[in-house]
Point group: C2
Chain length 201, copies 2
Amino acid sequence: VKLYSDPASGNVYKPMLLMAHLGMEYAHIPTTWEDGGTRAPEFLRLNPNGKVPCIEDGDFVLWESGAILNYLARDTPWLPDAPRLKAQVLQWMFFEQYSHEPYIAVARAAMHYDAPGPARDRKIASKGSGGEHALAVMEQHLHACTWFVGDAPTIADIALFAYTHVADEGGFSLAPYPNIRAWIARMQAISGHIPIGPVSD
Amino acid sequence: VKLYSDPASGNVYKPMLLMAHLGMEYAHIPTTWEDGGTRAPEFLRLNPNGKVPCIEDGDFVLWESGAILNYLARDTPWLPDAPRLKAQVLQWMFFEQYSHEPYIAVARAAMHYDAPGPARDRKIASKGSGGEHALAVMEQHLHACTWFVGDAPTIADIALFAYTHVADEGGFSLAPYPNIRAWIARMQAISGHIPIGPVSD
């Protein structure tokens, strides 16, 4: 498998973390917005939406981190086979992409990439209530559950872990969320865990 | 199946359209933001994220339109079984939720629900380039394909159809996108098709 990747991206980190757990070998093809790689014609032929991650598995091309996680995790314990569990995995993955990432990841990206000033401050402030809402939903769910779906970690945990554990980099404190902090520690304790890559300066 | 629903929501229309095609019976439970239903404690016990659609199938509760479509379409022609096709269905469904709906559906909602004025105009204008980008990605894909994945309609088509065919209600003209218009006509010609519900005034 070839992984078109940007080490700073939490969405890229998701398949990297899964493949680390699965012991899968893959080739990195660095492709970032900063170096123009995601807008290059040869990359747009693979993903017309111009985003990483994107994978090539032989002649099969797939983009969208959520789709890639489901594809790579098929027939492994990271994606349960029972229809109801499988549906709940997708529920939390769609929640992450719609109600979590656009606040928590976008605030983090603004802190790293936008020029300091009032425009950046307004952008980050506009993400506050949506991000806190997403964290509150997670906190409540983890009150009764060890993992997001079923009784073992799944790709739903990987999808939510990627940006949650670095939420502070976007200005979100996890101090009010003890269940989330305990779950983060459980994720990091799984054998094979790898950290997210550094954000380039 | 019980469907917690708001007739104005394209996200609710997605499972309604699928169930119409599948000939599935279900009970509507009207639950809207306007009437406070999505913020009621008894609904938040089902979906702590406070959004419709949400379904109950016996004691099984599921929310997020993308997860509901995958659950209801399992073992039907609307969700192919081959791993690569199934992954591509998810790719387009995650694309829809991240790169399409937040522009095209949010502009439509602003036109319907926000008070006319400069704030609404700015909000709608801020959705323009993202929405046009999503439509351009779809247009290009449909140049070579009849349906988004494989050679028959899938839940990826349903997910993308819901807000695309009413994109004009958010100020997006489909005139520059002949492939999209032809695909919309193909979707509407499938036996069993039902229209989206009216937006309440």
